[in-house]
């Protein structure tokens, strides 16, 4: 009997405590850590809210001087003329055009390249390609912009016989160059992460390699591929400076890819330095910022929706 008691005690030291009462020291530590993490979390929310409020307040002040209708629908952005006009349409059009162009260029190339690397290329070619892509992503974007001015813009000017090579197309090509490494790497990961059973099942059903890729692998990896595209383009669009270097920046609604265009981000970056604090122009740039924020939020929401749906279909 005594022996058994002793055994219980020694066991107690090594295994779990037998009583179920809370250990004060233990739960206090837990409590403190929980609170600290909560504070850190709330801080980021507060900071973001403050930024948002500031942006909103400053931006909305614009509408004391300019009507909402003019801001949204006027086709002219002439902030420093004698008779200033603040129409955001050309900037929105420029941003959308360059982004759309970049997507059109980088999605087929990027996804195609990812498929080639993960499914088709022999191991050595695969290695070489991966190194090249790594290298491409390591080029600082300003250097790319510089090459864009010297090489790309020239090439665009000559091949399309234009008077200037600084066009929306040039911007789109540059953005897609910057987006490609991200798109390729993440899509490749997404395809590689698929269980090999999918491949086997499809091939065993008498599908060719190509049919397997198109009908099984790409749809199964679609959520990852869409995420890759979003990330790639999102990141590249954020490279305001690079785009600004090659698009010519004329603030008019571009009617083709071969004319100069100006993005919202480039406008804010280029003009903010010249504004009078709390002037109309200053407020207008903040209002452009609000529009930009709303557009990116919308795009993120749509992407989330698409991803969720793709995920549901998958499972």
């Amino acid at each position: 009997m005594a022996n058994a008691q002793e055994m219980l005690v020694t066991q107690d030291k090594f295994t779990h405590r037998k009583n179920l009462k809370k250990d004060i020291k233990h739960s206090l530590g837990e409590y403190i850590i929980e609170k600290i993490i909560f504070c850190l979390g709330i801080t980021s929310v507060i900071i973001f809210s403050l930024i948002f409020l500031f942006l909103l307040r400053t931006g909305l002040t614009l509408f004391r001087d300019v009507s909402l209708k003019e801001f949204l629908f006027s086709k002219n952005w002439f902030p420093i003329s004698v008779n200033p006009q603040y129409g955001i349409l050309p900037l929105v059009a420029g941003s959308l055009l360059i982004t759309a162009g970049a997507i059109l260029i980088s999605v087929p190339i990027g996804v195609g390249c990812a498929i080639y690397i993960s499914e088709v290329a022999p191991p050595k070619t695969k290695m070489v390609l991966k190194v090249i892509i790594e290298f491409l992503s390591a080029i600082p974007s300003v250097v790319l912009g510089f090459l864009g001015i010297v090489v790309l813009a020239n090439w665009v000017r000559i091949s399309f016989s234009l008077s200037s090579g600084f066009t929306a197309l040039t911007g789109s090509i540059l953005v897609s160059l910057m987006a490609l490494p991200t798109i390729i790497t993440i899509s490749d990961d997404a395809i590689n992460a698929l269980p090999k059973e999918y491949r086997e099942a499809s091939l065993a059903l008498g599908a060719t390699k190509w049919e397997t890729i198109i009908n099984v692998l790409v749809p199964a990896a679609s959520s990852g591929i869409i995420a890759a595209i979003m990330l790639g383009i999102g990141r590249a669009i954020g490279e305001t400076m690079t785009v600004m270097m090659v698009t010519g920046n004329a603030a008019k609604i571009p009617d083709t890819f071969l004319t100069s265009a100006r993005t919202m981000t480039a406008t804010i970056a280029a003009e903010m330095g010249d504004t009078v604090r709390n002037g109309t122009h200053y407020h207008a740039l903040f209002a452009v910022g609000i529009v930009l924020l709303m557009m990116t939020t919308c795009i993120n929401l749509i992407a989330d929706f698409v991803l969720n749906r793709a995920r549901k279909e998958g499972r």
Partner: protein
């Protein structure tokens, strides 16, 4: 008549020899069972019958493997055409992340069957054959990954049947199924052998005895004995076979 005849088949995974001098005939419109302890090469052998081992890096295969007098490892053989004639159900259920309907219609679509009506017919017929129709007929457009493991396996069987292959390779098709579904699949196999040649890997001696006509006993990459199922289970020639089928193995 032999549907498939294998002579002196040797298979290597890199340096490891997984199959040694396999010589075996698979009779047309019969059920051939492959039995043997885990790791003895049953799946490997099965996968070499429709060249699924081609997908694994570093596999070397030597020997003769004929499907109706045609050597399937010849250079000019169209693997896609071969796999349409020799269908397969895998050891682990592997449905596509698509709807139940699309899973079954996948093979026929690759043949070029496009009209909805034809596909509907094939899907219904195949699912009925695989004893799954009643359970899924109201949710054909739902994802196949939402099915239970046993249902997924029957879906994979339906998917293979939809191609109407001549030979059906089944790697432990009932290992994930309950006794009722197992009985249904066994019934199905007996039914199918009227039209198809079936090769089935199984760990269940009772199953092999119930449904197969021929049985091959594998051990460490070799075929120890192959004969009619009745002989293997009542009068095996080899001591090792006897030990295995009577459960005294090891």
């Amino acid at each position: 008549m032999s549907k498939i005849s294998v002579k002196d088949l040797n298979l290597f995974y890199g340096d490891f020899q997984a199959l040694k001098n396999i010589t075996l005939n698979i009779e047309e419109k019969k059920v051939t069972a492959l039995i043997g302890p885990s790791g003895c090469g049953k799946s490997t052998f099965l996968r070499s019958l429709n060249r699924m081992n081609d997908l694994i890096d570093g596999v070397k295969i030597k020997g003769d493997l004929k499907l109706e007098e045609q050597d399937i490892y010849q250079k000019d053989v169209d693997v896609v055409a071969l796999r349409r004639r020799v269908g397969m159900v895998f050891q682990k259920p592997n449905p596509f992340p698509k709807s139940i309907y699309e899973n079954v219609a996948y093979g026929p679509r690759r043949y070029g069957i496009k009209t909805r009506k034809q596909l509907d017919e094939i899907v219904e017929k195949s699912l009925k054959k695989a004893a799954l129709w009643e359970e899924v007929k109201d949710r054909l457009s739902k994802s196949a990954l939402g099915l239970s493991g046993g249902q997924q396996q029957r879906l994979c069987i339906a998917r293979a049947l939809a191609m109407e292959p001549e030979v059906l390779l089944m790697d432990e098709p009932t290992s994930a199924l309950d006794p009722i579904a197992t009985a249904k699949i066994e019934e199905l196999i007996v039914e199918l052998k009227k039209e198809y040649t079936i090769v089935i890997v199984t760990h269940s001696m009772q199953q092999a005895a119930r449904i197969s006509d021929e049985t091959a006993f594998f051990l460490m990459g070799e075929v120890v004995e192959v004969d009619t199922t009745q002989k293997i289970f009542t009068k095996p020639r080899d001591k090792r076979t006897e030990d295995y089928v009577t459960g005294r193995f090891g």
